[in-house]
């Protein structure tokens, strides 16, 4: 029963996510013709709710699909489908953010506007490995949200949030990568432990 409700929730979230991404894709040809000022203006006025609500939905959709995959880990075909769904969600969620994640990662501190202007950044990123891109996006997102309380330049953490300045300084890079690796190692360790345990003991 829980799994069925969860399935429905995941479907709804994924549909909402794909809706926003599809809208982004549709408006992109028109937006590419804007000059810098118009682009910035549109970026800062139109997408307010996209980042606040849409961003939450995107993250929730990825998490929901991931959780579904864990629920179904005994039933292999269903789990694979859910994992594929989660991967699709990640791709859909990252599509609108294709503006040079390296810039987010490395130096968005001093020049918040430079990378947003460059709509063609997407072309460069296609060449990198998807895994590398996802890693960069994850690190950039964590560091930006915690370090300056904003996501893609739009404040998301509320008025009273005190930014963790350390996250945008050099140590934050090491720390974020370390914590991500810790999470991955924990995940793997868990898989090994589960495989080693007798089947009934789960």
């Amino acid at each position: 029963m829980v799994v069925k409700i969860w399935c429905l929730a995941t479907l709804v979230l994924a549909a909402l996510l794909m809706g926003t991404s599809f809208a982004h894709a549709l408006e992109m040809p028109a937006k590419m013709r804007y000059d810098t000022d118009e682009w910035m203006h549109a970026q800062h006025t139109l997408y307010f709710a996209y980042a606040r609500i849409g961003g939450m939905i995107e993250i929730a959709a990825i998490l929901a699909a991931g959780a579904l995959a864990t629920f179904l880990h005994d039933w292999r075909p269903a789990m694979l489908t859910a994992v594929a769904g989660a991967a699709m969600d990640v791709v859909g969620a990252t599509y609108p953010f294709k503006k040079q994640p390296i810039a987010f990662l490395v130096n968005h501190v001093g020049k918040p506007d430079e990378y947003e202007v460059n709509g063609l950044g997407c072309v460069k990123i296609r060449g990198m490995g998807i895994g590398f891109t996802i890693m960069l996006l994850a690190m950039g997102a964590i560091r930006e949200v915690l370090g300056s309380g904003s996501f893609l330049g739009v404040p998301v953490m509320g008025r009273n949030f005190e930014p963790w300045v350390i996250m945008v300084l050099p140590p934050g890079g090491f720390l974020t990568l370390g914590i991500i690796m810790l999470a991955i190692a924990w995940w793997r360790e868990r898989g090994v432990r589960r495989a080693a345990a007798p089947r009934g003991a789960r």
Binding site: I166, P170, G173, G178, M181, L182, A185
Partner: protein
Amino acid sequence: MIGDLTWILISSMVVNNFTLTLFLGLCSFFGVTNKQETALRLGMANLFVLVLTAVAAWFLNRFILEAAPYLRLISFIIVIASLVQIVEMAIKKLSPALFRALGIYLPLITTNCAILALAIFQTNRGYGLLQGLAFAIGAGLGLTLALSLMASIRVRLDVADVPRVGRGLTVVLIIATSLSLAFMGFAGLGSSS
């Protein structure tokens, strides 16, 4: 003049440490800091190549690249690589013991991003020969410092009881965080002068 050079040296050594605050040369920082001696040796080799690079970059900028500034990057890469190659052959002939001690690290340093970064920083800031040398020595000492600090911590880590999930690179990254945090403390040095 002397004050200027000293400041460049100190600044590139600790305040803008190549590894810990600029993320340059991280591969060797994480890759070969297992043993104190190796790390120290690699740091020294880095210092040596950095000084060579500074001189070469100054020479290129002063006498050659004025006519063709667009060839800067590729000429840096080629000149540094061939310089290291020549030095490697000379060391192999003159002092086989040192050659064996440096091992693979000497050629490996050629493509280290810290080396190319030094040449590019030096060009962008318009350093002269002496300033470039001070910059290179400072950066080299800073790299050596970071590498040997990390190595000495990792040596003790071998006998420490690290949780199983955190073993390997993860705990090293967390240590790098605190080292980098410690080096952030030097950032206040510049404000008074």
